[in-house]
């Protein structure tokens, strides 16, 4: 962890910063920021493919309780796709926008890991 004082336009700003793996964590002026330093993030920043950023990924490790859609389904924004459980609580994963279900990559009762891709969505085929 590094504690830095920065002078910017006459203002003294105290900054805490720490590099953790491929991320740079910063805290200043009451807020925390995370900068992704990985090569894929750099590719994205240069305008490359978004690597399926809007597909349904597991936001935490847990268990799939039920899948509410089938391959080929047309979904409206907010439609329920998956119910999963983590830390003894249920979470609903919903469609981020209107889309079509391309491929289901998990099934009920699966244990899934953090950031595992669960459903492949197609946002272009309306």
């Amino acid at each position: 962890m590094k504690n830095i004082i920065l002078n910017k336009d006459g203002e003294r700003i105290q900054i805490w910063a720490q590099r953790l793996g491929n991320e740079l964590w910063l805290h200043f002026k009451g807020k925390t920021f995370v900068k992704d330093l990985s090569s894929s993030a750099k590719r994205r920043a240069r305008g490359g493919a978004s690597a399926g950023a809007d597909d349904i990924i597991a936001p935490m490790p847990g268990k799939i309780l039920s899948i509410k859609v089938r391959e080929g389904d047309q979904l409206k924004k907010g439609d329920l796709i998956i119910v999963m459980e983590a830390m003894k609580m249920e979470y609903s994963l919903k469609a981020p926008q209107d889309c079509k279900v391309n491929k289901l990559l998990c099934s009920a009762n699966d244990q899934v890991s953090l950031k595992q891709k669960l459903v492949d969505l197609d946002f272009g085929a309306q």
């Binding site: 830095i4 004082i5 910017k8």
Partner: protein, 487 residues
């Protein structure tokens, strides 16, 4: 006197730390009963002795009565403090402690049973002047019967796993069309979390405040009340921000205190307990009595100037407290925020991992109840609470301001926290005015927080720091960046 010399702590996280410190201040040794997953925690480091009681899953460790009792006996403890959650409200466990000549720091198994069973609790309260809320908790758990009772109670109806607590297995059916789904979901969560599908139903008050009275029965049988807390800010029925005193009129306050004391007296209650009420306008209803220490006990301690955990230990040791009800006067206002490892921009899903760095900005009237520090790991095995942040000031307005400042200065690296969400709540007009109800979060924060765009100025700072950090790495600090002081 019972002469407690060593207390076994059957819990984890920040409450285990709280209990160990209270015991140490009283000159009592502590032995922490921990799971295999909890070695990287503060409690593990500060306990006088530690005993591993099983694997990470709660049924192999913290919820396993045999393991907990065996651990306490092996550690030479003469008492067990259960904390909250886990076995804290399990009458069978309290009895097992007694059978093994271990003092259970809490009420009698009879009192736990009495209030643990919703029917007997309601029946007891019905013999007092305290009003109760309409509901169903019968043996007939068939879908037909439950649906029929839901109609009878009138929507919205709350469906809750009977073994539940802390919002787990709890669903609300706002109308008949949601009834079946609520039943199925609550049963599923109940089965997973407590091994029981048994449900109870209760009228759901859509515009009520959650007000709870801290009571305490000392060893002479005297019942004290320590004023009330308000916990209306709940998410999925899990409390997020609590405060003391509550935002209610003083006439209602007196009535509620009297009702709470009457209920506790009727039950001949020993130790710390909380009588929970739902308050709608000038009406109030008994909700339940929690026969344990509450997560939010620090706000009461701050305004009342008392130590509930030490008092619990004294009561169990057959020593009386020094209080006189007339001298118990609240001072100022206290607020507690629960700091969760979760991503507020993803609707509060847990964010697990290792804490790379953390900073708790101490100061006057600021209190940090922490269970983890730098280098520790938050896992998916348990609740994702990292810490509780409590502030105390002369007025509610000042306490809110102090909390905002404190949260601004609190740093956790490596995990996302709900701090941005807490800050939004603290500045919301319905919270600031004190008018919030238990619907506050659902109504005002139905969706995940919108991630704020990084401003140009912020981006400049981030890039500058990134450059500075990589200079350091690659050139061992030889190259100076004129922007930074002393680098």
């Amino acid at each position: 006197m019972n002469n407690i010399e060593k207390i076994a702590i059957a819990n984890r996280g920040e409450v285990a730390v709280r209990i160990i410190k209270a015991a140490q201040e009283l000159g009592i040794a502590s032995v922490l009963l921990h799971s295999e997953a909890d070695k990287n925690t503060i409690a593990y480091r500060i306990a006088d002795e530690v005993i591993c009681i099983g694997a990470a899953p709660i049924n192999s460790s913290y919820m396993n009565m045999e393991n907990v009792i065996d651990g306490a006996l092996a550690g030479g403890a003469d008492a067990i403090h259960p904390g909250f959650g886990f076995l804290s409200e399990n009458a069978e466990f309290a009895q097992k402690c007694i059978d093994n000549k271990l003092i259970f720091i809490g009420p009698t198994p009879e009192a736990i049973n009495l209030f643990g069973d919703k029917i007997s609790a309601k029946n007891l309260v019905k013999t007092t002047s305290c009003p109760v809320i309409p509901g169903y908790n019968g043996v007939d758990q068939s879908e037909e019967k439950l649906l029929e009772e839901m109609d009878k109670i009138g929507y919205p109806v709350m469906v809750k796993a009977a073994g539940g607590g802390g919002g787990r297995g709890l669903k609300v059916a706002h109308d008949k069309s949601q009834a079946l789904m609520a039943i199925e979901s609550a049963k599923r969560e109940g089965l997973n979390a407590f091994g029981s599908e048994s449900l109870f139903l209760e009228k759901y008050l859509a515009n009520s405040k959650h007000i709870e009275v801290q009571v305490f029965g000392d060893c002479t049988g005297k019942i004290f009340h320590l004023f009330e807390r308000e916990c209306s800010v709940q998410r999925r029925h899990q409390k997020v921000i609590e405060e003391s005193l509550g935002n209610i009129s003083s006439s209602l306050r007196e009535k509620i205190h009297n009702s709470a004391v009457e209920v506790a007296e009727k039950a001949k209650y020993l130790g710390a307990g909380t009588v929970e009420f739902l308050v709608e306008g000038d009406e109030y209803y008994f909700l339940e009595m929690n026969t344990r220490l509450q997560v939010e006990h620090p706000v009461s301690e701050m305004v009342m100037g008392i130590d509930l955990v030490k008092s619990q230990i004294l009561a169990a040791n057959n020593q009386s407290v020094f209080w006189n009800q007339n001298d118990l006067t609240p001072h100022g206002h206290a607020i507690e925020c629960r700091l969760y490892a979760e991503d507020p921009y993803l609707g509060g899903v847990p964010s697990v991992g290792r804490i790379g760095f953390c900073k708790w900005p101490h100061g006057p009237g600021r209190r940090f109840e922490i269970g983890f520090e730098e280098g520790d790991t938050i896992t998916t095995n348990y609740d994702s609470m990292i810490a509780k942040i409590i502030v105390h000031d002369e007025s509610r307005t000042r306490a809110i301001n102090k909390m905002i400042k404190t949260l601004n200065e609190t740093i956790v690296f490596g995990l996302k926290t709900n701090i941005p969400f807490l800050l939004e709540i603290l500045q919301h007009k319905d919270f600031v005015s004190g008018d919030m109800t238990t619907q506050f979060l659902e109504k005002n924060f139905p969706k995940a927080l919108e991630q704020e765009k990084i401003t140009e100025d912020e981006q400049i700072i981030i890039n500058a720091v990134q450059k500075q950090m990589s200079y350091k790495k690659e050139q061992s600090g030889n190259l100076k960046n004129p922007w930074f002081e002393g680098s």
